[in-house]
Amino acid sequence: MAEVLDTAWALRWIRNTADVISAERTQLIELDRAIGDADHGENLDRGFTAVIGRIDAGEASATPASVLKLVAMTLMSTVGGAAGPLYGTAFLRAATALGDAEEVDAALVATLVGAARDGIMARGKAEVGDKTMVDAWTPAADAARTAAQDGATPADVLAAAARAAEAGARGTEPLIARKGRASYLGERSAGHRDPGAVSSALILRAAADAAQEGSA
């Protein structure tokens, strides 16, 4: 197992994300249709397609942070809705946390995930339990920190984060939404998974897979 992740990992992460968002576009639209306005999958797909376009055009430069910053700026200007600024902020804070590091070790991976989570919470003011993407990112950040403290590899830190995010996303199902569009539904929001939490788990799983692939 590689002890550090690099720019190639960051690029694989984002390509994996674009692929899985495209593959899950319809499912994410369906989830949002149930308790929102049926656009989450469409918006993210549009955003990550634009990101890949800019990566293919050679706009990302040498460091992992430069990749994440490009993602942040592109999502901010192409996704719209709630998820655009939230993911935009998440990737921006993650990029800032990485600074100009060319290699990302386990501790820095945990920091990255935590910074993304903090960005989402700062921007959206949601708490754990409000049935939002925070319910995926908070357990993910906690799991990442614990794994890194326990000496896991970067890939394993990300795998722990992805697992926790997936459990968190599943856990949104019974909750009553208190933030975002689903909150208008009150108790009728219970019984559906939060689309943003589900897409968050997909993004973190893509990161873990990218780390896994790099070390294979």
């Binding site: 639209i29 306005d37 049926a38 656009d39 901010m76 200007s77 996704v79 719209g80 998820a83 208008y184």
Partner: protein, 333 residues
Amino acid sequence: MKKLINDPRAVVEESVEGFGIAHADLVTVHPDPLFVVRRDAPVQGKVGLVSGGGSGHEPLHAGFVGRGMLDAAVPGAVFTSPTPDAIIPATTAVDGGAGVLHIVKNYTGDVLNFETAAEMAAADGVDVRSVLVNDDVAVEDSLYTAGRRGVGGTVLVERIAGAAAERGDDLDSVAAVAQRVIDGVRSMGVALTACTVPHAGVPSFELTEDEIEIGVGIHGEPGRHRIAMEDADGITQRLLDPITSDLQLVSGDRTIVMVNGMGGTPAGELYIVFRRVAQLLEGLGVRIERSLVGNYITALEMQGASLTVLRADDEMLELWDTPVHTAALRWGV
């Protein structure tokens, strides 16, 4: 899904392009990033008014760009708030030196994107202020929700604040009158059918032939209650009651009333609703000083209607009556 569209992903661009051709005397369309400005923007010395939001609510917002109303509209994808990279140039394009007011409907997406844009435009030296429209009484306004949605009241805010800006009020005053309208306006909607977002291809929710959705939003979000179909008079009562009680309307109050179609309901039915509103308000001793009946803020082809009531004071009525010249609202010019 049957719609008069081409590529579902080009719906907004093509529609706004057509709008720009049809109303070239009123507006200029900037294609990328997409926004619409008043043809004579920026008007020197006048506060600029910018609104925007997801598309699919036409004529809101582009249909209200022009003299006495908005200076710019920023249309997002269907039902998706626009992004800062479009809001920022729209903001700077209409800054005539007296600052810019953002009129934002209270949805998380709109709030976050306009917030970001406002920060960045301010960093560019524009004096930006924001007001948040949250008139939908179907939604509980509490610490534990995202707050009430912005719906029909937006049209009234845009008109009255637009009139104040046109007569030369400064940014503080325009923001203040906009806020007074927001404080005094409430709305409630009903859906008879759902709408279909082009990229989704299936209706946003399902209603049987006997059900209606009371308290529906303008995005095909399910409402608060699903009830059995009722007649127009019964439905009208269900729309009006929460508004009058929330506003605590009393005999002698003066109002501006809008009966708005959701896009798929014919005008003839809206007048049946308006007739009942007029009867009920008359019963309460509440006066309808001005009214709008028609499609002003829609949810694609949804069948249904919404009712908006503003408790109006003298200044609001005076501003209301000043000339307005936009694609969808026009008088006095």
